[in-house]
Amino acid sequence: MRWLGHPVVKPVLFLWLLAPAGYLFWAALADQLGANPAEALIRSLGDWALRMLVAVLAVTPLREITGWAVLARFRRMLGLFVFFYASLHWVSYAWFDMGWEWSDIVADIYRRPFILVGTLAWLLLLALAATSFNRVIRYLGALRWRALHRGVYAVAVLTILHFYWMRAGKSDFAEVAVYAVVLGTLLAWRLWRRRCRFAH
């Protein structure tokens, strides 16, 4: 898999991951988001944040299973894309659903646990994104940095909870279950690896 190391792969991947945002931006301007554009936009951005989260958490298992060490090159970019889509998701909620009425937003976070959980996940992502630069990594030291960035596992759990509670009103959990199983597998794989390592 030497081609994965080619210098053009990363920019191409970057553009590809940016494409959903580009499409949604176009659809919003062209009024192609359907009857309830705010709802469609907020939900799509949430879906994409979740997909990026799956992708970033798949990097290490894939790398170890396939032995393609080169995959590690894409991990930070994928992580920042999770933050990017999660941020657009939260901002469009605050803007198009809440009209930037801060008192309404605070009341909504207080009233709706799924908004609280989603907001917490986004704040955690903010902390991870803010400490994703080489300088900060050096400043924190690898051990502390790694401990902090295990927070992404908490983000995964909060995200699934957020999605579950959002769908609870409709008692429709099919899609939630798919993501829960995928993310659960990726997290379980890590636990299993740890056990193996300690066993030796």
């Binding site: 062209a30 988001l33 709802e39 009233r111 008692s171």
Partner: protein
Amino acid sequence: MIIRSADTGFEHPVPSEITPPSAYLGRREWLQRLALGAGGAALATWAARDALAQGAASPTGLPRLAARPSAVAGAQTVERVTSYDHASSYNNFYEFGTDKSDPVQYAGSMKTRPWTVAVEGLVNKPQVLGIDDLLKLAPLEERVYRLRCVEGWSMVIPWVGYSLAELIRKVEPQGSAKFVEFTTLADPGTMRGVRGRVLDWPYIEGLRMDEALHPLTLLAVGMYGQVLPNQNGAPVRLVVPWKYGFKSAKSLVKIRFLERQPVNSWGRSAPQEYGFYSNVNPDVPHPRWSQATERRIGEEGGLFAKRRKTERFNGYEAQVGALYAGMDLKTFY
């Protein structure tokens, strides 16, 4: 030179001035054909958007229903009517799936003819009414109602039908009848959502007798001057404009008169979230969200449109407020 204007403000058009449907439908068809490829890619994009804006997908194929404007107080909302496209493509009809786009996609499988509605329970004249009997039971009226969904969005829809009271009088309820229960079709063969367990099927709704008899309570057989499309609850549904949309049961197969308050489907599924009355009320939040505001579908400004303030009884307080005099609406939500 000053030119005197004969303009006296908005004048209602005389019928002869209204563009005949065949003319504008012809234009829409032309735009659709263009959108389908005849006009080249760039033109097609433009045409598709124009066709969408014109509500082109709408009146194709469905029989028209002649109706006179209703004289019932509150039945002629003077707000901008939601486009047919939005009203017929953004629906909650869980029998066809929980996504808003599921009903328009899958409701075509439902057979709406032959169709019967069984009227039973505490009435002197229980009967089974065919859809043609129902269409002839009373003169059809057009009523423009606001529709407020419990999820926080709203539309304005021109329905065709008549007061449910017309049917109720015909079947002569007994003195002991205090409530009316409505049952929606639940056919797993043609309704893919019924195969799942999102709710207990069939879908049940209920009204108190005085609510059911209120002239605003509509038995609808059409909208936008045509028979109901399947996704909107064909061939006959209930429309109770001052209550959250889920109270307006679709595709009715049974109407039963009872002495005791029936248990409605959402009340059974989540009693702490959905009360029996479910009158639109900005002061009683849903346990998981506020009901103070609503998003009007198709509002000018699209994505950037501000949410509207929700009105008590969805703006029908003058007509229906008396039904609830003395009741604590926070207890009986």
